[in-house]
């Protein structure tokens, strides 16, 4: 019989709930549990953490997820793969070790992958001829080069596979691709060659269906979402993969959710540009050749994805400070809620002018339906208008001070503006981060990628000496 590798999904982003992964560890009969903790936005959140405290910069919920799952690593031999390292994989690694010691678990081999962070290597790479021009717009790098807060390359499966070969039970990485956490076990277990494009492409599609947790099992489903069973305890996907790359996507019977053609197809195109050419560091996958077949309740069989050679470049995403966002909120109630809120808007706009607050951009949204009058709010009618409207006004400023001055304009409106204003709120200015993406020859990055594997008890011994 052909060997099958079973992989469960844990997190779809930094902050995702861990309960479904615990259910998979208990009831999913899996060999691996893979996390994708790094949504596009996450690196910029983590870099803010690291600026405040250099020991941080990884996803903080790694503590709760490891506490919940480490016992299963020990008891059932489930391996955990995560890119929770973010901006600081070594910090994440230290935290996993700390949790293991706290739980009294020894003998675990934990690997940490570094080398995706190229912030300190920008000049060196420039000297080697890398232009770092923006891959979308072609804009020149000079405008942002001196302001960079982070610069990370998207790594593929290679270092994760290497860590598994070195016997790692847990692999912690920085910016590896979302799909790499899921493809790596297959390359390791089946020994897929690095130019076995079709199998790799099947593995990438599997990873893509797994990386956003419940988005394959009925979460965020736009079809008949009311038919999704027990959304309150929705399960995350499990893949059963054969050596030839064919796989079944399913979930545990103990969890809620729904896996069928309609839920899977939505995830297949999520965050995809050209579905015939999904570019990853490991392969360029063609999702339009894939065939999906419902072979049972909550079981979809997937085959036929084709691949073509991986690119010679890796994508690097960089972030730089790009001004501040100021934000205020105020709501007005019936009657004439819309008229009042528009008046408040015009007052604030005039005051911005009068006080010389420098603003690059202003955005105004009207929000709300029953926030002020609760259950007594009348439903909206054409004659009567909305029962209440909140105004959310956001501005982009170059200086923190201007965003702060803007924030202070809203509260006085409670006494000085139109009647029946409630829920006034100014939010503290937030740093905005601009993102810059470019392509870099892969060998310049891969040559510096390092995999270190350490055993927990040995570290425990050395640290007590």
């Amino acid at each position: 019989m052909m060997k099958t590798v079973r992989i469960g999904a844990a997190q779809g982003f930094y902050g995702d709930t861990i309960e479904p992964a615990v259910d998979i560890a208990k009831n999913g009969n899996v060999d691996y549990i893979s996390f994708d903790c790094l949504a596009e936005l996450t690196m910029s959140i983590l870099v803010k953490d690291k600026l405040k405290d250099p020991t941080k910069g990884y996803t903080k919920d790694i503590t709760t997820s490891m506490k919940a799952l480490l016992p299963y690593v020990k008891e059932k031999g489930i391996k955990l793969l995560t890119n929770a390292g973010g901006i600081n994989p070594e910090g994440a690694y230290e935290e996993v070790v700390r949790v293991a010691k706290e739980l009294g678990i020894t003998g675990l081999k934990i690997a940490v992958v570094t080398g995706d962070n190229i912030l300190e290597r920008i000049s060196e790479l420039r000297d080697k001829g890398v232009s770092f021009k923006d891959m979308e717009t072609g804009d020149s790098f000079e405008t942002v080069q001196d302001k960079l807060l982070f610069a990370n390359a998207y790594l593929g499966v290679k270092p994760i596979v290497e860590a598994l070969h070195q016997g790692a039970d847990i692999v912690v990485t920085g910016r590896t691709t979302d799909t790499a956490q899921f493809l790596a076990p297959l390359v390791y277990e089946f020994g897929w060659k690095e130019d076995d494009w079709d199998r790799l492409a099947q593995g990438i599609l599997m990873g893509h269906l797994m990386e956003c947790s419940a988005q394959s099992t009925g979460g965020n489903f736009s079809g008949n979402w009311w038919d999704v069973e027990d959304m309150d305890r929705i399960g995350y996907p499990i893949a059963e993969v054969k050596e030839n790359g064919d796989f079944i996507l399913t979930k545990t019977e103990t969890s809620g959710g729904m896996v069928n053609f309609d839920t899977i197809k939505e995830q297949m195109l999520y965050e995809i540009h050209d579905p015939a050419a999904y570019i990853t560091p490991d392969v360029v996958a063609n999702f339009t050749t894939a065939k999906l077949e419902e072979i049972g309740k909550n079981r979809i069989f997937i085959t036929g994805t084709t691949g073509s050679p991986r690119p010679d470049t890796l994508k690097v995403v960089m972030g730089y400070p790009n001004g501040y966002r100021g934000q205020v909120i105020i709501g007005y109630s019936w009657p004439d809620a819309v008229k009042k809120v528009k008046k408040a808007e015009s007052i604030i706009r005039k005051q911005i002018e009068q006080r010389g607050i420098k603003i690059e951009e202003i955005m105004v949204d009207y929000i709300g339906h029953n926030a002020l009058h609760g259950p007594t709010a009348a439903p909206p009618t054409e004659e009567d208008g909305l029962n209440e409207v909140f105004m959310r006004m956001a501005v982009r400023t170059k200086s923190y001070q201007d965003a702060e001055k803007f924030r202070r304009l809203v509260v006085p409106l409670g006494l000085n503006g139109p009647p029946y204003g409630g829920g006034l709120n100014g939010v503290r200015p937030r740093t905005l981060l601009g993102m810059w993406a470019s392509l870099v020859p892969r060998e310049f990055i891969e040559d510096e990628v390092k995999v270190q594997v350490k055993e927990v008890e040995k570290i425990a011994e050395s640290s007590t000496k």
Partner: protein, 115 residues
């Protein structure tokens, strides 16, 4: 021919990548998929999102999923970490596209109602 809102005929999911949004639109059967191909062009999507999507709209086809995938550039006011929008990640672009009306042959709608 009858004017029908896409929400009555489709599934849709959207997601971000930098300052771009993709909106995938799924048809319930092949006949309606062909109608989508005719009616929901990149130009019309660009027009639908006027002043919201500032860049180009590119349409890709995924016939195995009876889906059209629209890549909308410069769509998120700078992208997640830089956007002033409430929905800076473009998660609701899909339902927004489903507000679009298209022309559909009566008999195709009758067939759909039967199934």
């Amino acid at each position: 021919m009858r004017k029908v809102q896409l929400s009555e005929l489709s599934q849709a999911r959207s997601g971000d990548k930098g300052n771009s949004v993709n909106v995938a639109l799924f048809a319930p059967n092949e006949e309606i998929y062909n109608v989508f191909k005719r009616e929901v062009t990149a130009e019309k999507v660009k027009e639908h999102f006027a002043e919201f999507v500032e860049g180009d709209v590119i349409r890709y086809e995924a016939p195995n999923l009876l889906a059209l995938n629209f890549l909308c550039k410069e769509a998120l006011n700078g992208g997640g970490s830089s956007s002033l929008r409430v929905d800076g990640l473009g998660k609701t672009f899909s339902s927004n596209l489903q507000r679009m009306y298209i022309e559909v042959e009566e008999e195709l709608l009758e067939d759909l109602a039967k199934n």
